[in-house]
Symmetry: C2
Subunit: 692 residues, 2 copies
């Protein structure tokens, strides 16, 4: 923020050229329509056992002048990057992070990242890259000798990065082209970028910051390609910050958003690195120059390597949750305070009182809780699964965990992208101003569907895991996956199943709703199996069969499975709340109902094929609208309880006090150029004096 | 673009630090999979009778150094506005615009705007505001004495604007608060902004440019509120460019996009303007101070006033079409040239060869043609409807035209927003770079759902027009609306209707597909009537009945009606093509099929209630995928034929020659800071040397 602007902000309410604005009580009146919920209980249950650290981190940020989102609205690229570094510096040491603490509690850093992400995803991403992606890779496939590297990044002596993606290969990691050729004479690797498209590309932190990277490259030993391995290598000199000889480092430039992160590229030319750069837990080269690996299959080995960085994928679910939460905060508060039209001779009506406005926003609120509770589940599973995977990197639990993470990451990003867009649109013209924050939230959210595993790829992988488990049952095995115990893909059962409800009351039954979500999983699995069988008769190549059974089929398995998990976790959340405050639990129960009913409504096509009749479809539609109306008044208090402080939102129309118009006035008047003539007036005059 | 960058761009291919990049023939090989279509015929049919002026305007822009989208990627606010003014200056007089020409051919300016919009919507919007919104308002509700004002804006002596929206009232124009109080003693109006929220707000061009505005204000005569009228008033002095005494003008600041336009605000304090500022075609004040109006109802009068600016709404449909076309150009070309994964021992596969990639992009291509042909229809109707409306401003034709414009504007913006998002996501990480252009296209597109009439409001209004016509048939009147001749809302007919198709071949029948679109219109009208009747029993107030019958009902009438119109117009387009080139027509026929089949697939819920069985739903799904595959190879040649020149795209990954990787390298290396150390290195070093 220009200094002048800051000064003006202080003075503007004294010098405003606008007519006086009375205090706007619209939002507070909206709140008062209902009794308060137990905000404390909701807050602490929503943020589980890290709610206290969240409050502490928020308070650290609020005490620093560096964390005021309004100041970040319009920064040039390098200023934004500088700000990001300053923000990291202001928090990192104060919070206190070191390897020992991470060993004791792996969620501790995640708490910092998630909390800082409430302010700006670029900050948490820069930290995620060095501490999760770089350090976790070393920890999962490195050996004891690599531990000092991990300590160095935890102490911020090094800034790490992860060089996986190349300009020509993103999702297809097994095909990266960078080579690391083993030279036995010196026991070194020679790193090369054989083609322009194999330059490491859009690597977070590499553009200007990082000095170390976990490099994914094909290991060549005795002219034999041993597949992709990882090397922890130095890319910049720690003193001079110059690229190492043989390394070219550049900056990828401006992105749609997240410009606090300096994404860069790397080109290697005969860059020699010592043997110990190889992270050699799975593969190594003996002193006599022979390659050996505990995992024979290249694909499996790479799968294990990548599974080491699952904390990064959890962060993505968290990022989606934050974007939804922030956008909904703005849109719900604005929807309550903004009035338009109304009955004759009556005061105007709040936007949120219109059916269509509710139906655009409240299902997103339900999805926010669904994704949040899904994320809690993923975090709870992390420690036990990690412990198992350390003993057996090919264990079933890791596979299942990967499937869950994959579908929840995809669902989270699908939900959040759609939610943020609706929030933007429901805020109309004010929502199009940069100071509403919605444009920036949308642009930040936009990275999620395609990074840390493209949704399309992840949904496929999830579908694959599920279908394999189903296949095992055909051989007589019992299903062990706790999220698939209801499995029954017998079409005779599916086509004769009739959902039992004849009105709203009988539909709103948690056992029935869960049954309907189970039905959908079973149905899409069945349909996928049929489609796979049909396509097997059409295509001779197994890849063709697989790839041509994605749309309407395997992609839908991943989504249905993820939505089943969210349903179960959201229900569990309601029960947890009920132990603390029945009243709050009852309200959140409506959120659970709305989540499931809206998901069914959006897929009525599936249910109408066999399970529903037309009258039941109407009941589902009507019930969805009923639930939106039920939640309408209380929705403000719900979002108040879980949202971020005003300074993290940076939205003139979304602050807690509901003084949107006063804040808009204050904001525009704080700009020193608001009332001035344009610098380009001479050009304008020239045009106006031109003879046609 | 910084000068240094321009210079580097010239030199970078000589000095590149990247390994050499061979010519990439992926895109051209993809093109060569099919014979060429008749691109000329497709181009001239797509752009109808203005194809030649489009080529001329494109060529004017291509000859000017001002029109290179790469130079506009990262401009500070005021530089961008300056650029926009310069761009207007470079085109306006060269194209030759004056009132006489507009009288002879009202589409002439529209052609300029649409053509310039291919480059940047901000330019065309700035022109739309002054020549369509401001001038058309004067021409439609002003009288002969106001004609000189129109001439002045056509000659660019004045820059006009339209001050309708206030900070507190957007959609609800009848409730704007600005007052124009008639003072009979001086025969003047005294303009006032009674409250802060009645400041005119986000008015295009007002921030820094406009000197005249069409002001929407409540006319007060003898203390009686006569409703909203329009006044053509001076807001800035033409010589000094200072706001007129009594007028405060400010700038609304940075927006999500379209920052070439300076949106501003206006505050009036006892600003006196002469009587002749009142646009007095419908209402006037006699020399003895008596108010009179040819239209008694305030609402009806305002409706007529607003209907004067329908050319603005047509521009919005055009803007959506352009955004879809540009985004699809980038995503389709990139989808063809980008390869990832593949069969064992085979070259990698183009993304567009994957079923899921096709199914994400090709339905948007079909929607692009649907919206384009809908827009052609709207333009063809413009002159005859305008002629009728000038004689009778309350004529039926204007009402029907308003309904068509409303649903097509809504559909266009819904289609385009979704298309651009999918295009962004299918371009993965490269699509997240600013130089892919997709972020900017998405941000520009984002204004469309909510400006020039919020979609929600417009769909309601369209539904209202249709329901009124249906009601008339209940009184025995015959339906005259040519887009509703098939009307039959008898539920006995609807619930017993069974669609006759048993395989893909019988589904792909244009008569059947049109019948299915008609069925949907009839079905949602019927369901809306039932819901209105049910709600009438629940709510006592008619507004409540109406507002609570929107979701699933009245909103869907507008969409179904719009999709029916697009279906008919797209079919007509196929027939027009067939007269010129049967081969090209056959290809576009598949686009027609895909449009309708995909629209049915997305609403299978409706069809499965009565019209389809489960087997037919599967046929619809399979047929959609079949059509995507059919169109896959030829889609590149189709988009090539209708898209904009590379310089207008400004997308390194979307240029016609398919050299995406080379262009990326060239672009990043042209930035003088790509290989330099950051200015903030000292801060980074300080952090790295901090003791934990």
């Amino acid at each position: 923020m220009r200094e002048q602007r800051r000064l003006n902000l202080i003075n503007s309410h004294l010098l405003s050229r606008f007519p006086a604005l009375p205090f706007d009580d619209s939002l507070s009146k909206y709140r008062e329509r209902t009794e308060n919920i137990n905000s404390d209980v909701l807050f602490h249950t929503y943020f589980i056992n890290w709610s206290h650290s969240l409050l502490r981190i928020r308070s650290m940020m609020l005490q620093s002048p560096l964390f005021n989102k309004y100041n970040d609205i319009d920064l040039p690229l390098e200023t934004r990057r500088l700000r990001c570094i300053e923000q990291i510096a202001a928090l990192y040491f104060q919070y206190g992070i070191n390897l020992q603490k991470d060993l004791e509690d792996p969620h501790r850093i995640a708490q910092l990242f998630h909390s800082v992400g409430e302010y700006d995803l670029a900050i948490s991403t820069k930290l995620t890259v060095t501490l999760f992606l770089y350090a976790d890779t070393i920890r999962s496939v490195g050996t004891a000798k690599h531990l000092p590297l991990v300590e160095r990044v935890f102490d911020m002596k090094d800034v790490g990065s992860i060089s996986m993606t190349e300009m020509g290969h993103g999702s297809n990691v097994p095909n990266v082209e960078t080579t690391a050729t083993y030279d036995h004479s010196t026991r070194e690797f020679i790193i090369n970028t054989p083609t322009a498209t194999s330059a490491k590309w859009i690597i977070g932190g590499v553009g200007k910051t990082s000095n170390m990277t976990a490099l994914f490259a094909r290991l060549i030993v005795d002219s034999v390609d041993r597949g992709v391995h990882v090397f922890a290598i130095k890319i910049r000199d720690n003193d001079t910050h110059e690229p190492m000889p043989g390394v070219t480092i550049g900056d990828c430039g401006l992105k749609i958003a997240l410009n606090g992160i300096d994404n860069g590229f790397l080109i290697f030319k005969n860059y020699r690195v010592p043997y110990d750069t190889l992270l050699d837990k799975l593969s190594s080269i003996s002193p006599d120059g022979k390659f050996k690996s505990s995992i024979k299959s290249k694909e499996k080995r790479l799968g294990i390597i990548i599974s080491g960085i699952i904390r990064g994928r959890i962060s993505v679910i968290g990022g989606c949750e934050i974007h939804m939460r922030k956008a909904l905060t703005i849109a719900l508060r604005y929807g309550a305070l903004r009035k338009q039209f109304g009955k004759k001779d009556s005061p105007e009506t709040s936007l949120l009182d219109y059916q269509i406005h509710q139906s655009r926003l409240l299902p997103h609120l339900a999805k926010l809780f669904a994704i949040r509770t899904g994320m809690i589940y993923v975090m709870e599973l992390y420690n036990p699964v990690k412990a198992k995977a350390e003993v057996d990197p090919e264990c079933n639990e890791l596979n299942e965990y990967h499937a869950i993470l994959s579908c929840l990451k995809s669902l989270g990003s699908i939900y959040a992208t759609s939610a943020v867009q609706d929030c933007r649109e429901t805020c109309g013209g004010h929502g199009f101003l940069a100071c509403s924050a919605l444009g920036n939230i949308r642009n930040e959210q936009d990275c999620h569907p395609t990074w840390e595993g493209d949704n399309i790829i992840l949904l496929q992988q999830c579908g694959k895991v599920i279908l394999k488990q189903v296949q095992h049952t055909f051989k007589g095995e019992k299903i062990k996956n706790p999220n698939l115990l209801y499995l029954d893909v017998d079409f005779e059962h599916l086509k004769t199943y009739k959902a039992h409800f004849e009105n709203r009351e009988t539909l709103l039954n948690q056992r029935l709703l869960i049954e309907l979500m189970e039905y959908k999983v079973n149905y899409v699995i069945n349909q996928s199996l049929v489609a796979l069988r049909d396509n097997a008769a059409v295509y001779s190549d197994v890849m063709d069969v697989w790839n041509n059974t994605q749309v309407h089929y395997i992609q839908e398995i991943g989504k249905a499975y993820g939505e089943y998990i969210c349903t179960m976790q959201l229900w569990k959340f309601v029960q947890t709340l009920a132990e603390k405050c029945q009243k709050t639990a009852n309200i959140v129960k409506n959120i659970f109902y709305l989540y499931v009913v809206e998901r069914i409504e959006k897929q009525l096509g599936i249910y109408l094929e066999h399970a529903f009749n037309a009258a039941q479809a109407k009941i589902v539609r009507d019930t969805e609208l009923f639930l939106c109306q039920e939640l309408r008044d209380i929705s403000i208090r719900i979002i108040d309880a879980i949202t971020v402080p005003d300074q993290f939102l940076g939205s003139v129309i979304g602050e807690a006090d509901g003084q949107a118009y006063a804040k808009i006035v204050r904001y525009v008047e704080s700009d020193p150029t608001t009332y001035s003539k344009p610098e380009w007036l001479p050009i304008l005059k020239k045009i106006k004096s031109t003879k046609a």
